[in-house]
Amino acid sequence: MRYAFIRELFAFAKRDKRIFLVAGDLGYSVFEEFAKQYPRQYLNAGVLEQALTGMAAGLALTGKIPIIYSIVPFVTMRNFEQIRNDICYQNLNVKIVGVGAGFAYGNYARTHHGLEDIGVLRTLPNLTILCPGDPLEVALATKAALRHPGPVYLRLGKAGEPNVHQSSPRFKIGRGIVIKKGRDVTIIATSTFLNRGFEVMRKLQEQGLNTGLVSMPTIKPLDTRLIKELASKSKAIYTLEEHSIIGGLGSAVAEVLAESGDQVKFKRLGVPDKFTIVMGRQEYMRRANKLETNQIVSTILRHLKQKNS
């Protein structure tokens, strides 16, 4: 995902000299070439996320399009108040790029996990939140983010996620992407879990369930129209994300469903509200949180059998 992002950024930086990349002393093996080719559009500011976020606001106030980059928690929470006041309140054209969504840095422990970013950032007016689900979506989301005249958060994975789409889908900020329609079950997945959603869909189809998959690369503004439509055409909806069960895609969809009056069967699937005790790499951490493909399938099958829940 990172490489799809940097490819697009390269293309833009060549055309548009306002593009200015500010890294928080991260991006080893990603930014070297960019720094070499565009030295006047790049700064490794150092390990100071608060000041570099404020600095980006200052750069934007002079007409530049700054992109700030670090690992998810450091570029969304360490500097949360700078994002709130300096960027969103002033509605500045700054792009916030977080790498390592979910358990990408699983073995580095919770300090480095990206599990609360969507939840905290979703509270901020003016901010667009993009969580592309595969490299094709990353390329499109990066383009859209750089063209959008306002604050954008772009959430990236790091694990070499595979493409789920067979070709570039139609991408528009604020629109979900229907990969397949499902009468019995619809999975709405985002970010690093789009591929997991695809795997789960396949397994449920094998069980004879007419299962659909929707990618939700924009969490804010949310495609409420599509969610309501899915609720009316599918018997059950499951949201799937590598993010805390609180505040992310699941919460956002739940808010729409709760206010829409639809009686669709619904459950959020994500990381439970607790610090994971065990330590391991991404897939190990997912399994420890019951987010391995077969575990998710079992959870859904169990849930489908329950009444009134």
């Binding site: 100071l48 608060q50 000041a51 404020g54 600095m55 606001a57 750069l59 002079t62 006041n85 300096d86």
Partner: protein, 253 residues
């Protein structure tokens, strides 16, 4: 303004008012009728809780109709207690949470440098916000990148929210701290126009270094006598008797 709105933060507005007058009338290259002119000097008012000093000086300099000052902190007025960008012409940034101004000023100065523009950036800081780590992060950045188009002016009235800085969190040796962050520092009496103007006409103090002016000031000076250099000057609005005395003294001048 303080009396009408019965607002807090009068002492810190009074302690920086000479600095603000000197800057807007003699030092800054500003265009009150074209406030966004690209070649203007930028002033980042980071100690935004004392915004009434900024508003009063901007109005006097012709950025907006002084009648707007009557709406300071009033329902439906244009002037919030903490200055926000473009609430009126001339306010460059939104601030209010401490330690946010200097990083933004660094961004503006850095852009000016890369783009080879010759505007300067001034950041007005409180002493209290020099407790914030983000202020020192920005100081490191400015020193590292040799931003000699950047000037920080600290209104060093030595009183912060709940006490004297030396008792709460001592900043001394203050000038040495800035020097060690690769800034050039000068200390002045922040109420003495001659000293202020002389110092600010020597910018940058050293080529290749950001400049800091540590302005020694007295919180609440010019306001009610009982609040001068007291914690209360941060919180207590003037009474009607105190306003009458102040007006009488000002008309004597």
């Amino acid at each position: 303004m303080s009396f009408r709105a019965q607002s807090a933060h009068t002492g810190g507005a009074l302690s920086c008012v000479e600095l603000m007058v000197a800057l807007y009338f003699k030092i800054l290259r500003v265009f009150p009728h074209k406030p966004d002119a690209p070649k203007r000097d930028r002033l980042v008012f980071s100690k935004a809780h004392d915004a009434k000093a900024l508003y009063a000086v901007l109005a006097a300099r012709g950025f907006f109709d002084p009648k707007i000052l009557e709406g300071y902190e009033m329902n439906g007025g244009l002037l919030p207690g903490h200055a926000t960008r473009h609430c009126v012409p001339g306010v460059e940034v939104t601030a209010g949470s401490l330690g946010h101004g200097l990083p933004m000023a660094v961004g503006m100065a850095y852009a000016g440098r890369v783009d080879r523009k010759n505007y300067r950036v001034f950041a007005i800081l409180s002493d209290g916000e020099c407790d914030e780590g983000s202020t020192w992060e920005a100081a490191l950045l400015a020193g590292q990148h040799k931003l000699d188009n950047l000037v920080a002016i600290v209104d060093y009235n030595k009183l912060q929210g709940c006490g004297y800085t030396k008792d709460v969190l001592d900043l001394e040796p203050f000038a040495k701290k800035w020097l060690s962050f690769n800034w050039e520092a000068k200390e002045i009496d922040g109420h003495n126009f001659t000293q202020i103007l002389k110092t600010l006409s020597q910018l940058p103090f050293k080529s290749g270094k950001p400049s800091v002016v540590i302005a020694h000031t007295i919180k609440g000076l010019g306001g009610a006598a009982k609040h001068v250099n007291q914690v209360s000057s941060q919180y207590k609005p003037p009474t009607s008797d105190e306003i009458e005395i102040a007006i009488r003294e000002l008309t004597k001048i």
